[in-house]
Subunit: 308 residues, 2 copies
């Protein structure tokens, strides 16, 4: 697999934001032509002027109908719409189609209904940045990061092989799993944290209405725990509403954990409270040591943002 | 007030950790003698050898009975014990006594029962660092940070004036408030976030028992939201158990916010969900702009840690 590397004649990137722009930059030397599709004219200008793409258009058909590799780098619901409404009729046979949407069930379902002959794989790179937009695009955000691949009814063995080589070419680590499993995992590690962050900020904001000193004294703990609350609302709304069941499941599990802690706290069972807090501390320390630090070695520029 | 500055003949720092060590270093040029008290012999050696204190002892009486300013820089429950059990009989009349414990009600109560003549003020500097211990001590962690002062029944006008000058000498910003108000605020901005972080990590850890990929895919959102869960358990247990009522109140408020978000999510009321998420986003962005960025200008070394 790795011996041949990833090559494509014509790459189309639909959505020239941080993530799509980074993919185009990373693939520059692996394809003859890159076309980009974006509805924003400034974005298209920027991408062409900076050599990120060879040609940019606001027309989906024009962007993809000559391509042999198409990357859908748009918000989840836009990807689903593109898949359901139009793109199947525009694509050439044997085109490799990969998306980078943050939830996978709906997208992989829609991919499975594309015309036979399209090779479609669901994708989710676990990376991002604080800043968004083409100006922040950076191919190195993919280096050493997990890139989940979810097979669909349109994933042939050859499609899978090309998708793996594509991920390898990005410098990312391919992790293959079913869409449902992916969605449950991201509900836990990403969507639950976001909801908790937003609810915590809403709680403090309510208190701060009558006492501004809440804002004045808020420090490092609040800063970390409130960062996700500032995520793009539309993007997060799309993500949550395409992953409702898994998020609701994780929320129900979270409530059990919170209620146990609260019981120990209010009942004054100090030793039991410490016993409950200890495994969470150890789990976080183990995660940093066994996953986070290993991954970040040599990739210090990779500050994963709210979008992952 | 600011014209005279803070001076003291003999400063005693009880507890030579990150915070106490930093205070000793910041006060070096403002006093003739600094004594430190710590139970750990390595800590005492380090503090003396590095000139952070002139003399170190494990005996509380010896540390404080010649001092005219005493800083209690120990965990909350240790401070409360010191106040209740012994220190009142050791202190000279007119000594200024300030603590830096993270909750203020119990401590200020105990200060109020000290002998008349001791000038006691509750304190809480809203700062910290990832690392703890005397080796990490750094006087600059106080620069530009809020330092809450809570008056007690032993706070005379002269005591208050000296405490304000002490805080100013640290380069911190004094914020005076009642202990109860302080405790409610830190319940919201610090203790609630900690409990949410620990409960979130416990939830993910439970899922990860049967699927290691939770750890593997966890990225930036999880990293931020899990950091507080790694706080020192004993310290956090002390803090929570001396602030039970305020923490329970904030938890009850949090549950309301969470339930509202969950209702919108599960019922599929997408627009209402976005309407609820928006104010939290704006509140966080406003906080960063109006408080956090102003404070951090010129204080980039001040990465506030879990202890604040």
């Amino acid at each position: 697999m790795s011996s041949s590397g990833f090559k494509t004649n014509h790459l189309a990137v639909v959505g020239l934001g941080l993530m799509g722009g980074g993919i185009a930059m990373a693939m520059r030397d692996r394809c003859k032509t890159i076309t980009g599709m974006d509805l924003n004219p400034q974005t298209r200008d920027y991408a062409v002027k900076n050599g990120i793409v060879d040609h940019a258009t606001d027309d989906l058909r024009e962007a993809v109908n000559e391509a042999d590799t198409v990357i859908l780098a748009a918000p989840v619901r836009v990807i689903t719409e593109i898949l359901r409404m139009r793109i199947g009729t525009y694509l050439r046979s044997n085109t490799l189609l990969i998306d980078i949407g943050s939830t996978k069930h709906d997208i992989c379902e829609a991919m499975g209904r594309l015309p036979v002959g399209v090779g479609a794989v669901g994708g989710h790179p676990m990376t991002g940045k604080e800043n968004s937009g083409i100006e922040a695009a950076d191919p190195t955000i993919y280096y050493g990061r997990p890139f989940v691949l979810c097979r669909t009814r349109r994933t042939t063995p050859a499609t899978r092989d090309r998708a793996l080589r594509f991920v390898e070419a990005l410098g990312a680590e391919a992790i293959e799993m079913e869409a449902e499993r992916h969605d449950r995992i991201v509900a836990g590690i990403s969507h639950l944290p976001y909801i908790l962050s937003a609810s915590m900020v809403a709680t403090v904001a309510k208190e701060a209405q009558t006492d501004e000193a809440f804002w004045q004294l808020a420090a490092g703990g609040f800063r970390d725990m409130s960062r996700l609350a500032a995520s793009d609302i539309k993007m997060m709304g799309d993500i949550l509403s395409t992953n409702t069941r898994a998020v609701a499941t994780l929320l129900a599990m979270f409530r059990v954990q919170l209620a146990q802690l609260e019981t120990m706290l209010i009942s004054g069972e100090h030793d039991k409270l410490l016993e409950m807090l200890m495994p969470a501390r150890e789990a976080r320390l183990d995660w940093v040591e066994n996953y986070e630090q290993k991954r970040s070695n040599g990739h210090t520029n990779n500050k994963t943002g709210a979008s992952s």
